[in-house]
Structure formats: structure tokens, C-alpha cells
């Protein structure tokens, strides 16, 4: 599976270490374009929609709604 890439929770600033996934905007096996909102996360007093870094297809969701994850963690797989 050489083409598989991880969708990572980005660095959002010093002091935001953990975030909560509040909604997935795409489902597994759904295609997306670069810049599309993929997942909504709660960080501090903000909701943050993570835009797709490139066009592709979400092959696997690793963490579901309401799960807490840390910055830098892979939350999905796409190709």
C-alpha cells in the first residue's frame, strides 16, 4: 500500500496539545479535492476544519467523533 498517506492533526500553536474530533465531513471511500473540509476538530475555544492537503480518497478513519487525539497524530488514511 505504497500510496497510502496519513491525515495528521496539524500544529495549531504552542499550548494546543490535544483536540477532539467533532465531525467527519467525508466518509471512508469518499473522494475529495484539495482544500475540501475533511474533519472538524475542537481546539481550545475554536472549531477548526482541517482542509485536505491534496486531492484523494479517504480509505480509513482511525478516530471517530468525540475521540480525543494529540497534535501530530494520524486520524485517517487517504490515497
Amino acid at each position: 500500500m505504497i500510496n497510502n498517506k496519513h491525515l495528521i492533526v496539524p500544529f495549531l500553536g504552542e499550548g494546543i496539545d490535544k483536540v477532539v474530533i467533532s465531525a467527519w465531513h467525508v466518509s471512508e471511500n469518499q473522494s475529495f479535492q484539495q482544500g475540501d473540509d475533511l474533519v472538524e476538530i475542537l481546539a481550545d475555544k475554536a472549531i477548526f476544519d482541517l482542509p485536505a492537503p491534496e486531492s484523494g480518497m479517504l480509505t480509513r478513519i482511525l478516530y471517530q467523533k468525540d475521540q480525543e487525539v494529540v497534535v501530530g497524530q494520524a486520524i485517517g488514511v487517504y490515497k
Partner: protein, 220 residues
Amino acid sequence: MPQSLNSPCSCLVQDLGAVTYDLGYQAQLRAFHDVLHGAPNVLILCEHFPVYTVGRSGKDGNFLCSAAEIQKLGACKILVNRGGQTTFHGPGQLVVYPIFSLNHFGRDLKLFITKNEQVVIDLLQDFGIVANRILGSTGVWVAHQKIASLGFGVKKWITFHGLGLNVNTDLRFFDMIKPCGLDIQMTSIKNQLGRPIEMDQIKKQIIFQFQQQFSLDFLK
């Protein structure tokens, strides 16, 4: 590409005056669309007619009264797509919506929030009010009373929603809720000084403080 937080960037100010929450939100969406397509950042200033807004983390338990009582106050309740819990907006409260591309500010959301807090802290200092942050409770506080609440949304690295600063707000509206889900008291500039302050004066000051904190170049 993210740019340095210290390089000046252009910004437009939109003063909407007193508007419904919905009209304010429509203005945010228009500004968001413009910024997304390369227009300058936008700083929207307004006051809202009485409204309770519930953010993504809001809970039913944040309300200490019935829907009928809210209606009796001439207010309404709206679910909104920002972070945080429940708050109140109304006459005498300055609401600021910075529609900023975080690409201009190093894509640093935490720093953006911190700078919004600092805008308020520095503004209050000009009025002789000592305000602070409380670790783990985003917002601006005077001792243990909250004077400004913050809640943001970020899409495509562009911010929306913003902050509410109690200037001459009728604080009794906050008695109906647990502001931000907390058992706290709210305060206002009027409460702290013992006299009301002209909203236009606060607007001028907050524009200046945003310019200082974010190195903004305001366009006429």
C-alpha cells in the same frame, strides 16, 4: 504559504452598528468569501440585539431558565458553529469578528487567540482596568469576573466568529445562563468604572489595539 506574524498585512474595518445576530453572521460569511479569494482581512464590529448563542461544546444545563423566560426577555437562542459553550450578546456589548487569514499569521491558532485576548487586556489597561488571562479558561478576566468571552471557527485557515467585550452590557442577562458553562460572574467596563463609556470610544481603541497586536495596515 504561512507568513511571518510580524509582517504588516492589510485589513478593512466594517462597523455594522446594532444588528441582529443573523445579519452579523451574513456579514461574516461575505467577508470570509472575500478573504478566501485574496481580499484583505476584515475586522467586523457590531452590537447585537439580545441573543444567547450556544457553541459546539454547549450543553442544555448551561441554561438556568426556560425558553419562555428567554422569550420574555426579548431574547432568542441560537446554535452556532464556533468553539466554546453558551454566551449572551446584547446592547452595550462590543462584538468583534476578525475574519483573518491565518496564513498571514503563521497558521498559529493559539497565538491568534492569545493576541485577541491581549487586544482586550491592553484596551482595558488604557481605562485603568487591570485584566488578565486565567490558565485553562480562554477569555479576559478582571479578578475572577469575566469581562470578555472568545469563541472562534476556522475554515481553510480563515477565522470567523470572535469576541464579545462587555462595555455597558446589562449583566442581568447573564443570570439566565452559566456563561461558557462555568459558575462565574460577568463584569463590564461600566461596572468596573462606575460609569458608562461611549461605544465609539471603545471601537476606536479596539481598532488601534488590533493594529498593534497583529501589525495591521488598515485600508480606508
